[in-house]
Symmetry: C2
Subunit: 556 residues, 2 copies
C-alpha cells in the first residue's frame, strides 16, 4: 500500500458534502449530473480533469443511488448526464491509477463495478430507470457508466463520441464491466466490439447506433428535450408510488476504537496481528412494526435496514482499510423468533415500495459479501441467531462450524439454525441462484425439501443432516478445531485463497454480473500485474509523460 | 522465456517413442497406465518423481487419446490408472513449474486443460468412456486427471487418498480444471470443496464417496476386478463398432525452413520482426470419396482429417514456440464447390464412426483456436475459399476483412463466402454456442435466416449485409486498411489483447469448459504473477528447499 493510501477511507457521505455530483428532482424524473471538482481528489497527486473520477467520486455516486431509492420513492427515472460543457466523462483518472498500489486498483474496480451493478439493479428491481444523456466525449469508465444505464442517448454534434481506449492507450482493459457489457448486455457483434475496443478516437453518430453502442443519437439542440421526453415515458412505466414520501437515510453511527468497529446492530473485533475480524450481528430485540406505515415510521431504525446499512459499510470499510485482515468470522446473537417475525414482515409486505427496497438492499449487501476477497467462516453457537436473513451469512461462508450439544457449565440451550421464506428467493447471489441453490447443485430437490422445514429449530445433528453446516464439533473438540481452522486459514497465501474462493463460491450458471467479477476482473487483475501495464515502461505508467511505453511482445 | 525453453517443442509423437504411458487394449477395453520415467523430462533441471508430469508427459497423453479415438474404434472404455506400485500421480512437477517462465506455465496449463477437456469430449461424444482407477496417492494434477474421467474408483487401503494440496503447499490453484470440476462437474458442496482444497493430506475411503470426490471405493484386493467389470459395463453402452478397424494416424509431415512452416494443406509464413503469422489453408483439389469405406481407404489423407491434424499441430507449435508472434492472419485458397462437397460428406455420413471422429477433431481444433491467446484476423480475397468448415476460421477471427469487388488487373472473380450445414451445429465453441450463434447474440433469428442461404455464394456486399464479415474495403482502400489494422494490432500490449479477446470472444452462456478457461485460468494466471507464489520467498519457489515461504498478508 502506498503511503497516501493509509489514510482511512470513509464510505459514509451525504448530499451536503458532495463535491462531484448534482442531483435535482423534478416530479417523477431526477437528473444526476457529474460535475467533478478537479481539486477534489480523495488522495493527493492527481487532478480530476475532464470529469475523470477516483474512489471519492464513486463513493458519492453510490450514496446518491442509495438515496434515490430510499428518499425518492416518487422518482421513476434518473437521467445520468454531465454537468460540464464539453465533456461527458473521461473515465477513471489515469494519474490516480498509475500511482496506486495493485491492491488499491483492484479494490477500486470492485467497488465501481458494484456501483454500476447497483444502477442496473435499480432499473430492474426498484423500477427506477436509469437513462444516460451523453452530452460530450465519453471515454473509458465514462462509457462504462453509460453502459450501466438502461437507455443511452448521445448528442450527434460531430465531437461527441463513445470510446473504450484502454487497450490502445493504457494497455489495460475497460474493466468496469465495459467489455462484458458490450457483448453480453448490449450484444454488440464480437468483431465490432473488438474493433471498437481498439479505437482510441471512439465512434460517433449513426454508426454508434448501428453498432448498438448507444440507443439513439439526436442533434445537440434536441438532446435535452428528447431525454426529458424519454425519461417521462420510462417514469410512467414505473410502479414506484408518485405520492409517497421517502425515508431519510440518517447518518450512520459508527465508532472505531483501536481494533473495534461498532454500529447499532453490528460489531467487529479486529485482531490485526492474526489477520482475523470477528463480526457479530445482533438480532432484533423486539417485534417488528405491524404494517408498512409502522415500518416507515421507524425508518432507518427498522432492524433489517439498519443491518443492511451497517454490514454494507463494514464490508466496505474492512475491504478498503484493513487489507491485511484476511479472515472474517461471523457470529450472530439474539432471538430467532423475533428475527423470524421480521422476515415475515419482509415477506408479507413485499409489494410495499420501502420493504422492497430493504429486501433489495439486503440482497446487494449479501452479494457484496460473496464477492469480497476475504475468507468467510461462520460460528454457530448457543445463543446465536442464524435464522432466515442472518442464516444467509452462514450460507455465504466458505465454511461453518456449529457446536454440537450444549457447552459444559452453560445454561444456554444447544445452538440451532432456522430457515425462513427469505432463504428461498429474495437473496440471489451474482450467479442468479440463491445460496441454498448454489449449495445443493448436486441435489436441487433438497432445496424444495427444505421448504418443508421452514420455521423449525434445527440443532447440530439436524442441520448437518440437512446440509446447512459444514462441521459440528462438540464441546470437547470445538476450541481446537475452530482455532486450528482459523490459524491454518490465515497462514495460507492470500492470493491463492482469493482465486480459490472466487472459483468455489459460484458454481452453476453465470450472469452478466458474475462474468464481470470472475472473467473480466480476473483478467484485469492479471494485467494490473503485468510489466506492459505497470512496469517502469508500462503504458499506464508513462501515459501523459511524453515517453513511449515499451512492451514485452511475448504472448503468454 | 528461460534459456532451456528456447529449444523447440514438437507435439508430434507416436507410441514407439512414448516414455511415460503404457497402452494395452483388450477387446472393448483399453488400459492406459501412467508410468512416468523420472529422467524423461522434456527439459533439464528436474526429475519426474512420483509420477509427476511435465509438458512432455502430457504430449504423450494427448497423442494416446487421439489414437484411441482413430486407431481403436473397437474400444468403448478406457481405464486410466497408474503403472507405479505406490502412487497414482503427484500432479504437475513442482520443480519444473518453479523454474519455468510465466509464459511457459500459462501455456503448459492451457494445453493440459485442453487435453483433459478432450478426455471428457471422448466420453461424451466419441462414446469412449474414461474411468479412473486410483491405485495409490493421487494429488493435485493427478486428481485433476481423475476428475476428467467419467467415473472414479479408488482403492480403500488406508494410504490411497485424493488431494488438491496446491493452495496450502504451493500458494497456487489447482488450475487444470480442479476447482471448477469440483463444484461444477462433480457438484461437491461448496463448503466441503473449500475444506478439501485446503487439506494437504487429502481425503480417503468412504468420506471421499460421501463428499462426491470419487464414485466408489473398494478394498485394494478388489480394485482390479471392480474396475474391469465397470469398464466392461461402460463399454457395453458404447455405440462404437466392435468389429471395425481403425485408421493409423501416420506421422504428420511438416517442414520448418526459416520463417516458413508447411504441411500438406496448411502453410504458415512467419514475420517474427513484425510479430505476424500468415496462415493459408488450402481447400481440397478433388471430390471426396463417395462413401465411408472410401473415406477409410484414404485415411489420414482425407482432406478434413488432414486439415484438422495440421491446424492442430500448427496452433500448438505457434503457441509454444513462437510466443512473440501475436497476430495470426488466416487466408484460404481453393474451390468452394469442392469444399462444399466435403462438408456434405461430413453431414451425410455423420453416423459413421470415423466421420464422427473427424467432425469432433475439427471441433476441438477450432476450439483450440478460439482459446489461443493470439489475435486472429481473416483476409477474404479473390481466390479464397471461406466455405463451410473453412468459413469457421473467419467466424473465429477477432475481425475479418473482405475485398469488395475485383482487384484491378486481376481476372479472378470477386471474393465470396459460402455457408454449409457445418456452420450450424457441429462446431460449437467452448461456450456451447456455434460461432454464428455467438456472433448474433442480439438477433438469434438471423442464424435461422442464414440457413436459407446455405450454398449461396455471398460476395462482399451480401456477406456484410448478412453480418458475416467485419469490413469490406475495395481495391483502392484494401492495402492501407489491412496494413494499418495489422500494424496497430501488433503495437498494442499483448497482455491487454489477451484479456480483451478472452472477454469478447465468448459472449452468452458459460459451460464447464468456458469457466475453466476464463475464471479459473485467469485467476491462476494472476496468481502465477504474484510474489506470494513466484517471488524469491514465494511458496512455489521455496517448495522442497526446506525454506519457509514468506507471504505478503494483504488481500487485494
Amino acid at each position: 500500500m502506498a503511503e497516501s493510501e493509509r489514510v482511512m477511507v470513509d464510505f459514509r457521505t451525504e448530499p451536503a458534502r458532495y463535491k462531484h455530483w448534482k442531483l435535482s428532482v423534478d416530479g417523477r424524473v431526477a437528473t444526476l449530473a457529474m460535475d467533478v471538482r478537479e481539486d477534489g481528489g480523495l488522495r493527493p497527486g492527481y487532478e480530476l480533469k475532464l470529469n475523470s473520477y477516483d474512489l471519492g467520486v464513486d463513493i458519492e455516486l453510490y450514496d446518491t443511488i442509495q438515496r434515490l431509492r430510499f428518499e425518492h420513492p416518487e422518482v421513476g427515472a434518473v437521467i445520468l448526464t454531465s454537468g460540464k460543457e464539453r465533456v461527458f466523462c473521461a473515465g477513471a483518472n489515469i494519474r490516480m491509477l498509475s500511482q496506486s498500489s495493485h491492491g488499491w486498483k483492484v479494490n477500486f474496480c470492485k467497488f465501481t463495478n458494484e456501483t454500476r451493478n447497483a444502477i442496473e439493479d435499480a432499473t430492474a428491481h426498484s423500477r427506477q430507470f436509469y437513462l444516460c444523456a451523453i452530452n460530450g466525449p465519453c471515454a473509458g469508465g465514462g462509457y462504462e457508466l453509460a453502459l450501466a444505464s438502461d437507455y443511452i442517448i448521445m448528442a450527434d454534434d460531430g465531437s461527441t463520441t463513445v470510446a473504450l481506449p484502454e487497450v490502445p492507450l493504457l494497455a489495460v482493459l475497460p474493466g468496469t464491466g465495459g467489455l462484458t457489457r458490450l457483448v453480453d448486455k448490449r450484444r454488440v457483434r464480437r468483431d465490432r466490439a473488438d474493433f471498437f475496443s481498439t479505437l482510441e478516437e471512439g465512434i460517433k453518430g449513426q454508426r454508434a447506433v448501428e453498432w448498438r453502442l448507444v440507443d439513439q443519437v439526436v442533434p445537440r439542440s434536441q438532446l435535452d428535450e428528447t431525454v426529458r421526453r424519454r425519461a417521462a415515458e420510462l417514469a410512467a412505466r414505473s410502479d414506484r408510488p408518485a405520492g409517497a414520501r421517502g425515508i431519510p437515510l440518517e447518518p450512520l453511527a459508527r465508532t472505531i476504537e483501536g481494533e473495534r468497529v461498532a454500529y447499532s446492530q453490528v460489531t467487529c473485533q479486529l485482531d490485526r496481528e492474526r489477520g482475523i475480524a470477528e463480526i457479530t450481528v445482533s438480532a432484533p430485540t423486539g417485534p417488528p412494526p405491524a404494517d408498512p406505515p409502522g415500518i416507515r415510521a421507524v425508518g432507518c431504525a427498522f432492524w433489517p435496514l439498519a443491518v443492511a446499512r451497517e454490514l454494507d459499510d463494514l464490508i466496505l470499510h474492512l475491504r478498503t482499510n484493513e487489507d491485511a485482515v484476511g479472515l472474517w468470522v461471523f457470529r450472530t446473537a439474539g432471538r430467532g423468533d423475533l428475527l423470524e417475525a421480521y422476515d415475515r414482515a419482509l415477506l408479507d409486505h413485499a409489494s410495499d415500495w420501502l420493504v422492497r427496497e430493504i429486501r433489495l438492499y439486503l440482497k446487494r449487501t449479501l452479494k457484496r459479501l460473496d464477492v469480497s476477497s476475504r475468507s468467510i467462516f461462520a460460528l454457530i453457537e448457543p445463543g446465536s441467531c442464524f435464522t432466515g436473513t442472518l442464516l444467509e451469512l452462514a450460507l455465504a461462508a466458505d465454511r461453518s462450524y456449529m457446536l454440537y450439544g450444549a457447552r459444559e457449565g452453560d445454561a444456554k440451550p444447544p445452538a440451532s439454525v432456522r430457515l425462513t421464506g427469505m432463504n428461498f428467493g429474495p437473496y440471489p447471489m451474482v450467479n442468479g441462484l440463491t445460496r441454498l441453490e448454489s449449495r445443493f447443485l448436486a441435489e436441487p430437490g433438497r432445496v424444495d425439501d427444505l421448504k418443508g422445514r421452514v420455521g423449525k429449530e434445527l440443532e447440530a445433528a439436524a442441520a448437518a443432516e440437512a446440509g446447512l453446516v459444514t462441521f459440528t464439533p462438540d464441546d470437547i473438540d470445538w476450541d481446537d478445531e475452530v482455532r486450528i481452522g482459523m490459524e491454518e486459514r490465515v497462514a495460507f497465501s492470500p492470493d491463492a485463497l482469493t482465486g480459490m474462493e472466487a472459483s468455489l463460491r459460484f458454481g452453476g450458471p453465470e450472469t452478466l454480473e458474475s462474468k464481470i467479477f470472475s472473467r473480466l476482473s480476473a483478467w484485469q487483475n492479471w494485467i494490473f500485474q503485468r510489466p506492459n501495464a505497470v512496469g517502469p515502461k508500462g503504458a499506464l505508467k508513462v501515459y501523459g509523460t511524453g515517453e513511449r511505453s515499451d512492451f514485452d511482445r511475448g504472448r503468454v
